[in-house]
């Protein structure tokens, strides 16, 4: 049994908001596992706790309770980062460095030197298709190019896990496709990928496992295949079906003894991840609203008490 690439156990992260006792619960009792060699997509609306989770995994933040491990090593341990390549959202690296210098800088930080480093940097520039711009300073780079040099930087020490935060945010469709292809390539090379995004289409295309997070909690998690399958429903996909045939099928269903089965809809299949996502977001909002209303009511009650005294 191989060690999971990322293991998050009952993670809770609370931020104090002000000097008074107000807190923001960014992540609440969240657990997830990214198995080695797998592409895991964490999706959720803005402010749902995706980035916080990633930062804890990377050791940039400490968990309030719970734990995160990377290949079995606690995230707070510097050694865990040996195996991680990280691409933050909208990365800006040192603008005064060229692409070549950037890769060499990060490689050296990982203890690489000499020919090994040079070869690797050259290889990565070819991989992200920036060989032509290697001696230009990053201050003159487009967003898509920055994203690509960011990915190359993340891969410099041949990590076994790559963490990508909104890898295609603000990148045009062509750049977006290039990054997607790179993720496929990483997967082929046996590298685990942990990415978070709110671009569902992309997640749907590349991820093996998906977790849907909203308001800091994990609402649904599983393989993409299982998630979008609705257990008690069966989908028939027909080609060139005549109206007569459809009527016949309908009649057949209605004539079924016991009358348990019913036809819910017929038509073209939809991107069901999107439906699921929107359902969850709605559900979580409603739950949050309820919580807020309860809180408000409790506050009102408190306020009224002293006045009645």
């Amino acid at each position: 049994m191989s060690v999971p690439a990322v293991e998050v156990r009952n993670l809770t992260k609370v931020f104090p908001l002000s000097l008074r006792k107000e807190y923001l619960v960014a992540v609440e009792d969240l657990s997830l596992t990214v198995n080695a060699g797998e592409v895991y997509g964490l999706i959720g609306p803005n402010g749902s706790g995706k980035s916080t989770t990633m930062k804890v995994v990377l050791g940039l933040m400490a968990p309030t309770t719970g734990s995160t491990k990377v290949f079995g090593i606690e995230s707070r341990d510097v050694r865990s980062r040996n195996q991680i390549g990280f691409l933050p959202e909208n990365p800006y690296f040192y603008k005064h460095l060229t692409a070549w210098e950037t890769l060499k800088f990060y490689g050296k930080l990982c203890g690489m030197r000499g020919k090994e480093l040079k070869d690797r940097a050259g290889e990565l520039l070819a991989l992200v298709d920036l060989e032509g711009a290697r001696d230009r300073r990053l201050s003159g780079y487009s967003k898509g190019m920055l994203q690509r040099i960011g990915l190359a930087q993340a891969l410099i020490q041949r990590p076994k896990l790559v963490v990508l935060d909104e890898p295609t945010a603000g990148v045009d469709p062509i750049g977006s496709r290039q990054i997607r292809d790179l993720i496929f390539k990483l997967k082929d090379d046996g590298i685990s990928v942990f990415l978070c995004s709110h671009l569902l289409e992309q997640v749907q295309e590349v991820c093996d496992q998906v977790g849907i997070i909203a308001n800091g909690r994990m609402w649904r998690e599983g393989s993409l295949h299982d998630l979008i399958a609705i257990e008690d429903q069966t989908e028939l996909v027909l080609r060139d079906a005549s109206p007569e045939l459809l009527d016949k099928i309908k009649a057949l269903i209605e004539s079924e003894a016991g009358g348990c089965a019913e036809l819910i809809r017929s038509g073209h299949p939809r991107t069901t991840l999107e439906t699921l996502f929107l359902d969850i977001v709605r559900e979580s909002r409603e739950a949050q609203d309820l919580k807020d209303r309860e809180k408000l009511a409790a506050k009102e009650a408190k306020k009224q008490k002293p006045s009645s005294k």
Partner: protein, 303 residues
């Protein structure tokens, strides 16, 4: 094929190599921020000072050149130490460069020391360049001044050769001397302490401006708090105010005046190696303690 913990490469807990990588990158960053344009201003200033021909006696002509140059070097070094250090870490955070660095196997101590080292390296290089530049001017000025003074004294015919020699030696004492290197070291030491102090402030400060202001205030107060404390102690005696406010302040804030030796070394006062050693030790102690406290505040800081 599984990835067990044992197969992971080990990360040395402390790697001078990585600190050097961070320091040299910081140096490059500062240089590419056009910092060294200051050197042009410096060169103009030194050239101007070496052409200043008012009523000065020969020795004064040399001294004014030294005073102006070392004054400029001193201003540059502490101003730069505060400004550059205050800007560096927030900038890394804003650009998210910090995320990418700390998500590599880089302990936070090394990050801090790398940044501090980069600032000190930049100041050191700038100071050496200024010193070389200024020594050139001083040497040239010294030769000219000595020649014209010798000619003048000999033409007067009133002094013996030995007496003339005494006069020329007095001028030479204000010229190029090894002792001037001690002044350079003292300026560098002061700037290093200021940089470490600024880094400490920046680990808890909420903005660059705050860092700059607090560091500058501490720097200024560090020049006169010993004097002010003496006044207060005389005025208020051992009151609660002095005990709770004045004494702790005097205790915490460094006495930056001790690093002002540069001024008098430039003026020609002899300085012993032992004193320079004490100064270096004191500065190293400050840098070490400030770095340690900065690390303590920075180690579990969240971004």
């Amino acid at each position: 094929m599984s990835d067990s913990v044992e197969t992971l490469p080990r990360v040395p807990l402390f790697s001078p190599g990585r600190i050097w990588v961070l320091a040299s990158s910081t140096f490059t960053q500062l240089v590419r921020m056009r910092t060294f344009y200051f050197l042009i201003v410096f060169a103009i200033l030194v050239a101007a000072a070496s052409n200043l021909d008012l009523l000065y006696t020969p020795a004064q002509k040399l001294r004014i050149l030294k005073d102006a140059s070392f004054g400029a070097m001193s201003i540059f070094s502490w101003l730069f130490a505060i400004a550059a250090t205050a800007v560096l870490i927030p900038r890394d955070l804003e650009d998210r460069t910090l995320y990418t660095i700390l998500s590599k196997p880089v302990p936070r101590l090394e990050y801090l020391l790398g940044k501090l080292g980069g600032v000190m390296l930049t100041i050191g290089v700038a100071l050496v360049v200024m010193q070389v530049l200024f020594t050139g001017f001083l040497f040239f000025r010294e030769v000219t001044v000595l020649a014209s003074e010798r000619q003048y004294l000999e033409s007067q015919g009133e002094m013996s050769a030995a007496d003339i020699q005494v006069q020329l030696d007095l001028i030479r004492a204000q010229g190029v001397q090894w002792q001037l290197l001690y002044a350079l070291v003292a300026i560098f030491l002061k700037a290093s302490v200021v940089a470490a102090l600024t880094m400490l402030v920046s680990t808890f400060a909420s903005s660059t401006l705050f860092t700059m202001i607090v560091s500058s205030i501490v720097f200024m107060v560090g020049h006169f708090h010993k004097l002010a404390a003496g006044y207060w102690l005389e005025e208020f005696g051992d009151s609660l105010f002095t005990k709770l406010i004045i004494k702790p302040i005097v205790m915490i804030i460094p006495d930056f005046r001790v690093f002002n030796v540069a001024e008098n070394v430039v003026g020609g006062e002899p300085v012993s190696a032992a004193i320079m050693l004490s100064l270096t030790g004191l500065a190293a102690l400050y840098v070490a303690v400030y770095s340690a406290v900065a690390l303590y505040l920075f180690i579990d800081k969240e971004f």
